[in-house]
Symmetry: C2
Subunit: 311 residues, 2 copies
């Protein structure tokens, strides 16, 4: 097979994104929706994919490479996990083909760390990791992919040595919405990385992670005793959850290890501000770009597409 173009799909729990990509990497079309795995389990994976392929007028012979929850046990076809330590190239190598389809459709596996004292899994982020490969050169690095479940990956010479997930985004959400702190945060505006309460809380928790749940209650007490404004309360909670993550994540590698931050939007701003505050050596990459680049790299590996090829 030597296709002139291919289709890249990032299919998560609650979102679907598809790109039609030319062999040289140019994006010819894009289609997005909220038909994530949860929806597609009802309406049928093949139908959802088919409608989006039609949307971008994908040629009948264009193969499809996908990542994300579509490959989970409860997804379309289970794509399993590649166990770490693993080379980045192993990810494409263990893609699973969706059976009984006219088109060649592959799903990339996740990564698993089968250590009972540091058990961890990722599904979707391994493709962003693949999309950062050019930035890694041949040296050590830490790749940070913040989110609901932030992933920190140690990569040495394009080999994934190990990784750690921190429940940062989910912790912020359940505490901010379900705990007694919801009163203190009510009406808060979005927090950005320049907020002094964010940076102060970040640094305090980074230095003293053992006081994390004490600082949580302190947000409540400052509301009662000092009428803490809701946006300051949200900034403090955000700084605390990210500070706790960084205190743990940065232990995985020597202090001067370069960090590649893979993030978009508001979250990118918060982590860039945090990394500056802590004096880290880092570069940033847009998360959407990273997943598209990673899928494209996988397509080139699987179907031996050469980047120089023109349609």
């Amino acid at each position: 097979m030597n296709p002139a173009c291919f289709v890249a799909v990032d299919w998560g729990t609650s979102s679907f994104r598809l790109w039609l990509v030319r062999a040289d990497g140019a994006v010819l079309g894009e289609s997005r929706s909220s038909e994530g795995m949860t929806t597609a389990r009802e309406s049928g994976f093949a139908d959802v994919l088919g409608r989006h392929l039609a949307q971008v007028s994908a040629p009948g012979d264009a193969p499809v490479v996908m990542c994300g929850m579509v490959g989970a046990r409860q997804g379309w076809v289970e794509a399993g996990y590649v166990d770490v330590p693993a080379r980045l190239a192993d990810i494409s190598g263990q893609a699973v083909r969706v059976p009984d389809q006219a088109r060649d459709i592959r799903i990339l596996p996740g990564l698993a760390q089968r250590d009972v004292h540091a058990a961890d899994v990722m599904r979707g982020e391994e493709t962003q990791l693949l999309g950062c490969a050019e930035r890694m050169k041949n040296s050590d690095c830490l790749v940070a992919m913040p989110g609901t479940h932030s992933k920190w990956v140690r990569v040495v010479r394009r080999e994934v040595l190990g990784f750690s997930t921190f429940m940062t985004g989910e912790l912020f959400d359940v505490i901010g919405r379900q705990s007694i702190l919801r009163h203190a945060l009510e009406g808060a505006a979005g927090v950005d990385g320049a907020h002094p309460a964010f940076l102060e809380s970040l640094h305090a928790t980074f230095r003293e992670p053992e006081l994390a749940t004490n600082r949580l209650f302190s947000i409540r007490a400052r509301g009662l005793l000092f009428s803490l404004p809701p946006t300051d309360a949200a900034a403090t909670l955000s700084g605390m959850t990210i500070g706790l993550e960084l205190a743990g994540a940065l232990r995985q590698a020597p202090r001067d290890t370069p960090v590649i931050l893979v993030a978009s939007g508001r979250l990118r701003g918060l982590y860039e501000a945090a990394f500056h505050r802590l004096g880290l050596n880092f570069t940033a990459l847009d998360a959407d770009d990273a997943v598209r680049r990673g899928l494209s790299q996988a397509a080139r590996d699987i179907w031996h597409i050469e980047e120089g090829q023109k349609p």
Copy 2:
């Protein structure tokens, strides 16, 4: 006033407990219900109290001393806070009288730490603290009152130097019920302090508090990769939240400072097991006893009741 008996009331957000106590400390009657502050705001504080007083046939001249959320801004009468550092005796000294009542009814204030970098409040636990006074002798101690919002208080020669609240119980609840970990904990039995997963997780987080949110996600990953049983998942979460609390709380005093644990039931068992695991020098006191003793101490201070007095 030199009453033969008095009434002690612990009136929390969702619970009401009343004891009729003879001057010498003997309990003559008890009445409990779920008519906490939230219910009483609807049905009327005076009515709720009146029914319980009738229940134990309290004499018309028996004065009433109360603690808890009944003294909050949204309670019956706001009883404010005593600022720390404060002597234990200041708590009784700043009790607030409920106006326009035939009976002498007083509400004890809470404690506040008005330090913007370590803001904290308690309401109700100050009375348990007063109830531990006999155990304190004249030395340094830390008083631990675990719960939804665990309180750790540093007391030196019956002066409260400061305190810290840790959102331990609430963190366990919101994470266990509202986060992705709810799947891993589904069907879990109650955890006791002898559970190996509890003690292992406790010690791991005590040593490395910065990995707290990583260990949270690890519970999820162990469910996927190693079919972790739900009770082990709950024990791990419990050990993690308590280990994080202890890592922060024990920094407040030298390592050999005696700890007084004030707790009841299952929680008491978990903390006793944790304290043994960490080799702490501690004694334990039942939380219900402590609050009744504290209210009795306050009654003796306020109305100059002598313990030797007999009706």
